[in-house]
């Protein structure tokens, strides 16, 4: 049974808007899943994304959600590095950084170094929560989860996010940092994939197109 989307639920779903738009440009943000279930291409896209996340069934989905919600997925790795860097001096960090010969890891190091103090409390919770809502919406496309369950889970996720962050801006910033932490720096690179838009692009577009949604931080 599909429940109606109340303004309250819409507000909770919007926590995943940025991630959803990035993964699926045609997403309809005011629907439960964001995907058009009657459009085979949409369903195919959802299937592909689920495969990338290694989600083959409802059980896989729930385990994945569990890992995001408990911080095992991203925050733990971030915090491990950040706490190490918090004890480092610029010099010792520099030495560590230079010792790396992998560009991607260097970028990660640079990023964690930058946020090692500012994200001490929040870690990358915002990104993790957004991802977990995004995966719930994906799971809905293949029937791994019901809207009733989503409502129950959204409630928890929403409580966590709203108590961790104080504004949409702060939250979305965390989402973007998290995305960069996981996927690496996402500056536009025309050489590999023309027209690819970065999460920052989507962030700007979202705040223009749906300005009303992201004004009030409803606790």
């Amino acid at each position: 049974m599909t429940q109606d989307i109340t303004p309250e639920i819409q507000d909770q779903l919007n926590l995943s808007a940025l991630i959803l738009k990035k993964n699926h440009k045609q997403a309809n943000l005011s629907s439960w899943s964001g995907f058009n279930l009657d459009d085979k291409m949409h369903v195919k896209q959802a299937e592909r994304l689920l495969t990338i996340f290694g989600i083959k069934s409802g059980l896989h989905l729930r385990n994945s959600l569990m890992r995001y919600e408990s911080g095992l997925m991203v925050s733990q790795a971030f915090e491990k590095l950040a706490s190490e860097f918090r004890r480092d001096t610029t010099k010792t960090f520099e030495a560590k950084y230079q010792a790396l010969n992998n560009l991607q890891t260097q970028n990660t190091y640079k990023m964690v170094w930058k946020y090692r103090f500012s994200l001490k409390k929040q870690k990358l919770t915002g990104y993790e929560m957004a991802m977990s809502i995004f995966q719930m919406r994906l799971g809905l496309v293949l029937g791994f989860i019901t809207t009733e369950e989503i409502i129950l889970r959204l409630e928890e996720v929403n409580a966590t996010v709203k108590s961790t962050f104080s504004s949409w801006g702060e939250f979305h910033r965390n989402v973007c940092i998290g995305d960069e932490f996981i996927l690496g720096a996402t500056e536009q690179d025309v050489s590999t994939f023309p027209n690819m838009t970065t999460l920052w692009d989507h962030y700007q577009r979202l705040h223009i197109e749906y300005a009303d949604w992201f004004k009030n931080w409803n606790k």
Binding site: S57, G58, L59, H60, R62, E149, L152
Partner: protein, 845 residues
């Protein structure tokens, strides 16, 4: 009266040479012929007195009537003459041998004429009527006629005449009864029409080979779709013929060739001959077919077999058929013999008639690597019908093996396949790419499922692991397979995996198998049972991981409104005590872990309570959680709880959210912690740092210990008896002997009353037994109590008590194993190590 008799025969009768009795016979003949107005008759009538004389139809009389070679000079007249015999023959007056031989000459000469149009149907009717009577007659006339006809039939040099005779034999049913033979002594014997030594003697010069040769030559001859010599001879088949074939396998082989020719040229089946049996019940021709290498003709012939033939007779045929199919690199698969006939051998059949060899054959011929590409589809269809779509048997059918019906087992299938492949799994993998829609995979899954626990013996641990992976891939690749295939196979895969995945602790794998339920509703029960077995298994020791899993899945259970992780309520309602005991025995500090556990449980309890009114499901979840908390906290040693956990419990219990107040037991349990809370509050007011809080907790447990423990110094040795008080005193002493000193006498008392102690502990419900053995176990490992030390006596006593308590319990082997490992680890001195080994031996004894 016929004209011939009137003009030629009767006037020429010579009465002179006849005896009176013969004359009387002749008179009767004339009466029958209605020749009473002839001169001869009147003559006899007037001149003879036959009183007291019996009529006698001697050879002489017969020759007077029947032997008139001149009449045969003209064909028409000859025929008229012979047909004129009818009234006489009807009365039993038969010709003699000489006359009959003349008749045979006439018939032989005119065979061609009989087949011409000039020979009318009516006359033919009469002529064959005469022959029929002669054949049946119990007289010397019979044999020459039968010989003539049989030789005519078997003489295919003149195929037209042979055919003519055959058709008329059938039409007039000439050979229905017996034939008569005049013996040397003049008597007449009759024999039935059957192929035996008499038959061969009279018709084939006593030469079996001659008969067989002619018979085989005759078999394929005849018009298509019409009756032939075979139909005449069929009733004559006998055990003797079968015995001849049995004794002469070469003849049997030529018979098979003849039957094949008959099948191909005349399109006629010959089951009766093919299924000929000897008196012993052997089938010489089927045997010959079984022993030869097949060509297409044999396939055709086998296809005509009677389906009711005993299975033993068909077994070899099926195997020859399979050999024929794969011979010459599968060339026969393209033949008409296979497409039009051979295929029926499999399609119009059931698995229980077929030999077990079909299974490896199918795998060979339809496997993407070894099979014949263009034909695998055909065989997959054939064998799916036999093995997969037939619901008369469970997973696997019974089939034929070495002349017996044998139930096919999964283990057998796997072993057979494994024999022909050096790397079975690689072979499976190749097949797996075809997906579940390939019937071979479906059959394999049945075999695996049927093999069940035997899989663990059939495959090495590494292969089992690979197999699990293969099966999972197969299952997860079925998203697009048809619903029926999924419904049938996913549950079987799940069941197989539940046999394979028995090792504990690999929860990633467990979850993957458990998740199969999302692919197919039919598999839900199996999968849930499987998950339950792994997560809640009383036979396996608990680990922190398992406990954590319980409470992780509490989330799924709650969020999905009890639809997922369905074993969670069972875990909640039955595992509380067990988890508490696990923590009690856990030496390391598990307070933090317990805190998180309690925190998670309480948070879900709170959510359930707040939503209770919207859905009754939440009420049941919170009720289960309360059962868990009651069991868990009821058994858990107080000192295992961190202070902040207790505070949290206490505060939650007393808050409005929890409504624990309606649950007396739980509420009281938590209330009993109030002492701690008060202490904490007191100490917090003195000093608020965390460090101090921990100190407080320590002093707290110490204080609590002194409340609970029985002060051993007060023990009066004479007053000791086996009861709660002293048992606990003993336990305390064993736990604290290092600081409190050894109460050797107390231990000694229980050592002598070991039986009473054991009984008491068995009846004890508070889990003291477990604690006892664990504590005693620790003393074994204590170097201070080792042999040769001051406390050796105490050590020996506790060793003795340990052995008695643990021996025979289900923990005995684990302890023994543990002791052995420790003894061999080299960490201990030789005397102690030896002592430990000794204990292990005692436990195992």
């Amino acid at each position: 009266m016929s004209a011939i008799f009137k003009t030629h025969i009767i006037p020429n009768l010579k009465l002179d040479a006849l005896e009176a009795s013969e004359t009387k016979g002749l008179q009767q003949v004339l009466e029958i012929l209605e020749a009473t107005d002839t001169d001869v008759y009147k003559n006899i009538k007037n001149n003879s007195d036959f009183s007291g004389i019996t009529a006698d139809f001697t050879t002489q009389v017969a020759q007077q009537i029947y032997f008139h070679p001149k009449r045969y000079a003209n064909t028409t007249e000859g025929i008229a003459f012979v047909t004129a015999w009818l009234p006489l023959l009807d009365e039993g007056i038969y010709p003699d041998e000489k006359s009959v031989n003349k008749l045979v000459e006439f018939l032989t000469f005119n065979l061609g004429y009989f087949q011409s149009e000039a020979f009318s149907e009516t006359i033919a009717q009469q002529l064959f009527q005469v022959l029929k009577i002669l054949v049946k007659s119990p007289s010397e006339a019979a044999l020459p006629i039968v010989q003539f006809i049989i030789q005519g039939i078997f003489d295919i040099r003149d195929v037209l005449s042979s055919e003519y005779l055959i058709q008329n034999c059938l039409k007039h049913n000439l050979f229905s009864g017996t034939y008569a033979v005049k013996q040397d002594n003049g008597t007449i014997s009759t024999f039935p029409f059957t192929i035996d030594s008499n038959f061969i003697n009279y018709f084939f010069e006593g030469n079996w080979e001659l008969f067989i040769h002619k018979f085989h030559q005759l078999l394929p001859v005849g018009r298509v779709y019409e009756k032939s010599a075979y139909d005449i001879i069929t009733p004559w088949f006998s055990n003797d013929l079968a015995a001849f074939y049995e004794a002469n396998p070469n003849s049997a082989l030529t018979a098979i060739e003849a039957l094949k020719e008959r099948l191909i040229w005349a399109d006629a089946q010959s089951d009766t001959l093919l299924h000929l049996t000897t008196t012993e019940g052997n089938y010489p021709l089927m045997q010959a077919l079984a022993n030869k290498k097949w060509d297409s003709g044999d396939v055709l012939l086998f296809n005509t077999r009677d389906k009711s033939l005993p299975k033993q007779q068909q077994d070899a045929g099926y195997i020859n058929f399979l050999d024929w199919l794969i011979a010459d690199g599968g060339a026969n698969l393209n033949s008409e013999a296979f497409k039009d006939y051979g295929i029926k051998i499999l399609s119009e059949n059931t698995a229980n008639n077929l030999p077990i060899e079909c299974i490896p054959f199918w795998f060979q011929i339809a496997h993407p690597q070894t099979g014949f590409k263009n034909h695998s589809e055909t065989f997959n269809t054939l064998f799916s019908k036999l093995f997969l779509e037939d619901d008369r048997f469970g997973l696997l059918p019974t089939m034929r093996l070495k002349g017996k019906d044998v139930q096919v087992t999964g283990a057998f299938v796997i072993r057979t396949i494994a024999q022909s492949h050096s790397n079975v799994l690689l072979w499976f993998e190749r097949l797996q790419n075809e997906g579940l829609k390939n019937p071979l995979n479906q059959f394999l899954i049945r075999a695996f499922c049927d093999a069940g626990e035997a899989l663990l013996e059939l495959f090495t641990a590494e292969e089992q692991e690979n197999l699990q992976r293969l099966l999972l891939n197969l299952a997860y690749a079925t998203r697009d397979a048809s619903a029926i295939i999924k419904a049938k196979n996913i549950p079987l895969i799940a069941e197989t995996l539940s046999f394979l995945c028995v090792e504990s602790g690999n929860f990633t794998r467990v979850n993957e198998i458990w998740a199969l339920k999302d692919l197919e509703a039919n598999a839900t029960d199996i999968c849930n049972q499987f998950a339950r077995k792994h997560y809640i298994n009383e036979n396996r020791p608990l680990t922190l991981n398992t406990i954590q899993a319980f409470f992780n899945y509490l989330g799924d259970y709650y969020y999905s409104l009890t639809k997922e992780a369905v074993w969670v309520p069972e875990a909640l309602t039955t595992q509380g005590t067990r988890i508490a005991q696990y923590f009690n025995l856990h030496n390391e500090d598990v307070g933090f872990f317990i805190h998180r556990l309690v925190d998670r449980v309480l948070s879900f309890h709170k959510r359930c309570k707040s939503k209770e009114t919207t859905n009754p499901i939440f009420k049941s979840i919170s009720a289960d959680i309360e059962v868990f908390l009651t069991d868990f906290l009821g058994k858990l040693n107080n000192e295992k709880l961190h202070l902040n956990t207790i505070t949290k419990l206490y505060e939650y219990s007393n808050s409005d959210d929890s409504r624990f107040s309606s649950n007396d037991v739980l509420y009281d349990q938590i209330e009993s912690y109030s002492q701690f809370v008060l202490e904490t509050e007191a100490s917090e007011s003195e000093d608020t740092t965390e460090q101090d809080a921990e100190d407080t907790q320590e002093s707290e447990s110490a204080e609590e210990g002194s409340v609970d423990t029985v002060s051993t110094s007060k023990i009066d040795i004479n007053a000791i008896e086996v009861n709660q008080h002293y048992v606990e005193a003993l336990l305390t002493n064993i736990e604290t002997y290092k600081t409190a000193g050894c109460e050797t006498e107390l231990l000694d008392y229980f050592n002598t009353h070991i039986k009473d102690l054991k009984t008491w502990l068995t009846n004890d419900k508070t889990g003291l037994e477990m604690r006892f053995s664990q504590t005693l176990y620790m003393t074994l490992l204590d170097t201070d109590l080792a042999p040769g030390t001051a406390l050796e006596t105490y050590g020996n006593l506790s060793k003795n008590v340990f052995v008695h308590l643990v021996k025979g319990s289900n923990l005995a082997t684990s302890y023994a194993m543990g002791l052995k490992t420790i003894a061999k680890s080299g960490a201990y001195s030789d005397p102690l190590a030896n002592a430990l080994l000794q204990v292990a031996d005692q436990l195992n004894a």
